[in-house]
């Protein structure tokens, strides 16, 4: 039995970041991890999919744009197995990086499954460790199927991202159930590797949490690339075989039969709250199954036990979890961290083109009956985008009509994920559309479109 100031259960992007910050603040810290450090994000999530998406990007570039760019190619062939192996190397590198960071900050890594015990204790294997200041739950989430409609993950014909990331070759046909960020990214990847993809979303449009205009651009782009996009579609029945799955999909009053080699389940995730002693230690859950926390302190119903990341509630995003980790570490160390602004967490989908957003969508502004003004700028009018053949997409700024507050910003662009932060900084500091325009944007850049969209919202766009 060992004693630490802080014990973090789970070494994903919420947990290991929390541990680093706690160690920086002089607390003796341990992280409990049953698998690889870095969690889902590093090993079977964010990082390896980005590697595969880059392969998909290169394939699309070569197949569609090489000729126009003055490059003659022949015999172009995608090999998913090779791309997959590279993605594994990238994931392993990052996981090792997390291990190194634990050593660097003198954080003890306890290997095994952490089981919470009453009174700020954590059992790992046969050892019970004591946390003098705090236990932080960062146990994350996992993939889930929909057994109700016969789509239980069997890891062969009905798979999740966990299996998709380890396939040796791309299936010839694939249905993806759920067109949020995960489903849309895999659709992009497999389409590039020659799979015939059917993307099925129950809500009325793909990327349902993004602004409707963004969904539209991506749906159009996907259809152009030969994917079947079924939005507002419900899987009524699934017949699961070993080499084939048949889905009956109802959309717009019509029932379609889709027969595919594999089905990829990407409709939501389940949080990891079972068999870890939560109930016995006094950690209660919400109606939706997340750990119940005091939103001001992220403390659970058990005193001295905190919860961060996916398991603490939506949005289930790595960067939201990391921020919560820093917050809790500072709180436990006796500091007064700035409150987390949950309405200023960027959301990014890394399909091609990328979709990135922050703040409210236009529909949400309507629902809230806000008095707003929209400004837009298409990349077809942006010099840099034209030069690099990346004219798909736009910047959309929604500002408050009276004061110019940036209520929401939505970008569809080849590098939207890198561009959204300008607007995050603006919102964090309450800059209005005027200040964003006043910042001199380098020319030629994609970011000029942000300034133009701000100007457009004020009725004085320059380059259209």
């Amino acid at each position: 039995m060992a004693s630490f100031d802080v014990i973090v259960i789970g070494g994903g992007p919420a947990g290991y970041v929390c541990a680093i910050r706690a160690a920086q603040l002089g607390l003796s810290t341990a992280v409990v991890e049953k698998d690889k450090l870095g969690g889902v994000c590093v090993n079977i999530g964010c990082i390896p999919t980005k590697a595969l998406l880059h392969s998909a990007y290169a394939l699309n570039l070569i197949n569609h744009d090489a000729k126009a760019l003055g490059i003659e190619v022949s015999g172009v062939k995608g090999d998913y197995g090779v791309a997959m192996k590279r993605s594994r190397q990238v994931a392993d590198q990052n996981s090792k990086g997390a291990e190194f960071l634990m050593k660097k900050h003198k954080i003890t890594v306890l290997r095994g499954t952490g089981v919470l015990q009453p009174g700020k204790k954590v059992k790992v294997g046969n050892d019970v460790h004591d946390a003098t200041k705090a236990v932080v739950i960062a146990t994350g989430s996992r993939v889930k199927g929909i057994p109700q409609i016969g789509l239980e993950i069997n890891k062969t014909s009905v798979i999740s991202s966990d299996e998709a990331l380890f396939l040796e070759k791309a299936p010839s046909t694939l249905a993806i159930v759920g067109a949020g960020a995960v489903g849309s990214e895999f659709a992009d990847i497999f389409n590039a590797f020659g799979t015939k993809v059917t993307l099925i979303e129950a809500l009325p449009r793909i990327l349902p949490v993004e602004d409707a205009e963004c969904s539209e651009v991506i749906a159009k782009s996907y259809r152009k690339r030969g994917m079947t996009v079924l939005a507002g579609a419900k899987v009524q029945k699934a017949t699961v075989g070993t080499a084939e799955v048949t889905l009956e999909v109802e959309a717009g009053g019509k029932v379609e039969t889709v027969t595919v080699e594999k089905v990829l389940m990407a409709a939501g995730r389940a949080v990891n709250t079972e068999d870890m002693g939560f109930k016995e230690a006094g950690v209660q859950l919400t109606d939706r199954g997340f750990v119940k926390v005091n939103l001001a302190t992220l403390e659970t119903t058990a005193p001295g036990v905190y919860c961060i990341g996916d398991v603490a509630g939506p949005p289930m995003l790595a960067h939201k979890g990391s921020r919560e980790g820093v917050f809790v570490a500072e709180l436990v160390a006796g500091h007064t961290p700035h409150p987390i602004k949950y309405d200023n967490v960027p959301s990014v989908t890394y399909c091609h083109p990328e979709v990135a957003s922050i703040g409210l969508t236009e529909d949400q502004c309507k629902e809230k009956k806000l008095d707003y003004q929209v400004g837009r700028f298409p990349f077809s009018a942006n010099g840099r985008a034209r030069a690099s053949l990346e004219t798909d997409g736009f910047v959309k700024i929604i500002r408050d009509k009276k004061y110019g507050e940036i209520l929401g910003a939505h970008i569809v662009a080849s590098h939207a994920s890198e561009m959204i932060h300008e607007l995050g900084v603006a919102r964090e500091n309450e800059f209005t559309v005027e200040e964003v325009d006043l910042m001199i944007h380098a020319h030629p850049t994609l970011s000029e479109a942000i300034a133009e969209a701000c100007l457009d919202s004020m009725g004085r766009v320059m380059h259209i």
């Binding site: 603040l25 002089g26 200041k133 705090a134 005091n294 939103l295 001001a296 302190t297 403390e299 005193p303 001295g304 709180l331 436990v332 160390a333 006796g334 500091h335 007064t336 961290p337 700035h338 409150p339 987390i340 602004k341 949950y342 309405d343 809230k368 009276k402 004061y403 110019g404 507050e405 500091n429 309450e430 800059f431 209005t432 005027e434 200040e435």
Partner: protein, 430 residues
């Protein structure tokens, strides 16, 4: 690298200090926390302690010298280091003056210069003390506000100088303007409100932005009378029942601590202030700080002046506790043995000259407090009781009120409660 030893602000009002005696000689080794010298402040003789370890290399001022706060008095470093003339490359362990940020005991903090990583305060109590990183705004020409807040304020005609900011470093953000209007911002309030709550029972005080009417009252009245626009309210109290109660208590108490009239007045004032928080407040130039707890100052005459020791959380204390505490504080005040924490941070003061047979007087407000009660002697006065003239023991008390904080009716209501409590002393234990 050698570290400068500076004259620290050992009391909130201290501007200079007299180095009474060095406790460490040049060349002697010192550890953090060692007493380096004794320093006489405006209020008491205090200890100047080492903020870094090493050897006291140099004493820059001789015993008996008076130097301003923050100026160097010596050097600590490694033997052999050259510090003559105070090389500019070295860093000073300056005292920080965190006195205006209201942390729980509202008292002078004994200047933490190099704070070690603070041992964690139990997190659950953390959010209430104050909004994150928003120290009480210092008067300054530059108003820190976000561009959005400036636009909203400009449009609504709100004076940003009159608003307390809750953003980083006290920056005014949209939320602060919504608060002025009583609006709610649509950011997840559930998350933010506990951190910035103005009503949590854990908060030691409530900062209330000035309303326009309050600002106008403050400005106009200050013009007509000095920096503190004071007015006075006098009430005469029948002290017969207090006298009876006191005799009974003291007869029962025997030798173990008698209760004075003043103790009973203090107890009554604390109870009345609890019921009239509007009088338990500090004028803070751009806002009013209403204290949740009564920290009662009591003026004590000392050899060369006056000092006001503080009975903290007086509203929670019994008469017996108050009596014991006043005896102890007054005694040590006369010997000049009070620590700054014991004579600072009061929220209301009582001054009693009854023992000098003063029938009635007015007292000067001790800023930033908003009120002080001047208590006169108890005299036998013919008085009408139930239509008959009787000789009764009566006492006059006069409250000086800062009109920027307390209006006539506000002060009068407080005095009425106080009079009721003294005329029915059983109410003090009810």
């Amino acid at each position: 690298m050698a570290t400068k030893v500076v004259m620290e602000a050992l009391s909130p009002t201290m501007e200079e200090g007299r180095l009474v005696e060095w406790k460490k000689n040049e060349g002697e080794s010192v550890a953090v926390g060692d007493v380096l010298a004794e320093v006489e402040t405006d209020k008491a003789v205090m200890e100047l302690v080492a903020r870094s370890a090493g050897t006291l290399l140099k004493q820059l001022v001789a015993a008996g010298a008076t130097v301003p706060v923050s100026s160097a008095v010596g050097w600590i470093g490694q033997p052999g280091e050259n510090v003559d003339g105070g090389s500019p490359a070295t860093k000073t362990s300056t005292v920080n003056g965190e006195r205006s940020t209201g942390q729980t005991p509202p008292a002078a903090t004994a200047a933490p210069a190099t704070t070690p990583p603070a041992p964690a305060a139990p997190p659950p109590t953390r959010p209430a003390a104050q909004p994150p990183s928003s120290p009480a705004p210092q008067p300054s020409d530059r108003v820190k506000a976000s561009p959005l807040a400036k636009k909203i304020a400009g449009e609504r005609g709100v004076d940003l100088g009159a608003i307390a900011g809750s953003g980083p470093e006290g920056r005014i953000i949209k939320r602060d303007l919504d608060a002025v209007r009583g609006e709610t911002s649509d950011v997840r309030r559930t998350i933010e409100s506990p951190l910035t709550s103005h009503v949590s029972p854990l908060t030691p005080f409530v900062d209330t932005p000035l309303s326009q009417i309050r600002k106008t009252i403050a400005k106009r009245l200050a013009l007509s009378i000095g920096p503190i626009p004071t007015f006075y309210l006098t009430a005469e109290v029948d002290m017969e029942r207090v006298a009876e109660a006191r005799e009974a208590l003291n007869a029962a108490a025997g030798d173990q601590g008698k209760v004075s009239f003043n103790d009973i007045v203090l107890k009554a004032v604390a109870t009345a202030l609890q019921q009239h928080p509007a009088c338990n407040a500090w004028w803070q130039d751009d806002h009013i700080r209403y204290w949740q707890s009564v920290h009662l100052g009591m003026a004590v005459a000392v050899e060369d002046g006056l000092i006001t020791p503080v009975i903290r959380d007086a509203q929670t204390k019994s008469l017996r506790q108050i009596a014991a505490e006043t005896r102890d504080l007054a005694g040590r005040a006369r010997e000049r043995k009070l620590a700054p924490a014991e004579y600072t941070g009061s929220t209301f003061t009582v001054s009693n000259l009854g023992m000098f047979d003063i029938e009635h007087f007015t007292a000067i407000i001790n800023p930033p407090e908003a009120g002080i009660l001047a208590v006169g002697s108890i005299a036998q006065i013919p008085s009408a009781v139930n239509g008959e003239v009787q000789v009764r023991r009566r006492m006059r008390m006069t409250m000086s009120c800062d009109h920027r904080v307390i209006d006539g009716a506000t002060g009068a209501k407080f005095l009425k409660t106080l009079k009721m409590l003294l005329e029915n002393p059983l109410a003090l234990v009810w």
